[in-house]
């Protein structure tokens, strides 16, 4: 059989295996829209709390974002099979969501959520942890770069004025939520277009 099989065919088989196994990574790319959703939610909450001076801005916005995320996630999940990798990544983000929700709800209700620097630094550090863990598991440099941006933001927001801290936080949200999310959606769409049907 090997006599008739060219090296190019064999290489094609190898890249086919790699592309199919890479489905694990595409699991996260499939959730690109979720990063965009949460990025927009952070912007809305920040704008509402800054201009509306409302203490309800963060809890209400986050609660709405959770409901929207769950609704869309259940619609998009469809018949996608579970993977060990997918479960590991999912666990990180679910645990992060619960931690942030409980922590900031408790801080908000107790009236201790007064230091803007601390607030931005904690959010940035937690998001850096989740993106870092996910990037390392998936060996995805782009996501790990996002983690690095969040860690820099966590340190930077501890210093400087309120407005400087806010700018750093807004830039980190834009890069790691909005831009990264759109990149994920585009990468998934391109991959789908690039790969044609597979025949026997």
């Amino acid at each position: 059989m090997q006599d008739h099989t060219t090296k190019q065919e064999l290489k094609d088989r190898l890249s086919l295996i790699e592309s199919m196994i890479a489905e694990g990574r595409r699991n996260t790319e499939r959730w690109g829209w979720m990063f965009v959703l949460w990025g927009v939610a952070y912007y809305v909450a920040m704008a509402w709390s800054a201009w509306g001076h409302s203490t309800r801005a963060w809890p209400v916005t986050m609660l709405i974002a959770v409901v929207v995320a769950i609704a869309f996630a259940s619609l998009k999940a469809g018949n996608h099979p579970g993977t060990t990798l997918g479960r590991a990544i999912g666990s990180i983000w679910i645990a992060l969501g619960i931690s942030m929700f409980l922590l900031f709800l408790a801080l908000g209700l107790s009236g201790r959520l007064t230091d803007q620097h601390l607030f931005a630094a904690v959010i940035s550090a937690i998001l850096g942890m989740a993106n870092g863990a996910s990037g390392l598991i998936l060996r995805w440099k782009v996501q790990f770069a996002c983690a690095a941006v969040w860690w820099v933001a966590a340190v930077a927001t501890c210093f400087g004025t309120d407005s400087q801290g806010t700018i750093v936080f807004l830039v980190a949200i834009f890069l790691c939520q909005i831009a990264f999310g759109i990149y994920g959606v585009i990468a998934q769409a391109q991959e789908r277009k690039r790969r044609g049907p597979i025949h026997a």
Partner: protein, 100 residues
């Protein structure tokens, strides 16, 4: 010069190889998901899955979810070993050409 390895003809088929590679990364997959990923026709996909099942590389589970029939495919331990052996043989055959 060492003998060149034979490639497993069951695994070597392009669609069958794609199916095994997909299944090796998931716990179990529905027929519809495999069809969406490979963009193969129902007939072709069914025929190739049957060949993999006959070889013992894939296990099939049929059940009803909310009164709708669902066919789940899982790679077996023999199938996993066959794919590993195939990749090893492929790499051996390609040799230095693997990076070019």
């Amino acid at each position: 010069m060492p003998d060149l390895p034979e490639l497993n003809p069951v695994v070597h088929g392009r669609l069958r190889l794609a199916l095994l590679s997909l299944l090796v990364g998931v716990e179990a997959a529905e027929f519809t998901w495999l069809r969406a990923k490979t963009e193969a026709t129902d007939g072709n996909l069914g025929a190739q899955l049957l060949k993999l099942e006959e070889a013992g590389y894939v296990a099939v589970e049929k059940k009803f979810v909310l009164r709708k029939p669902q066919t789940l495919y899982r790679i077996t331990e023999i199938g996993r070993q066959a794919l590993t052996e195939y990749v090893r043989a492929l790499k051996q055959l390609l040799g230095p050409a693997i990076d070019s």
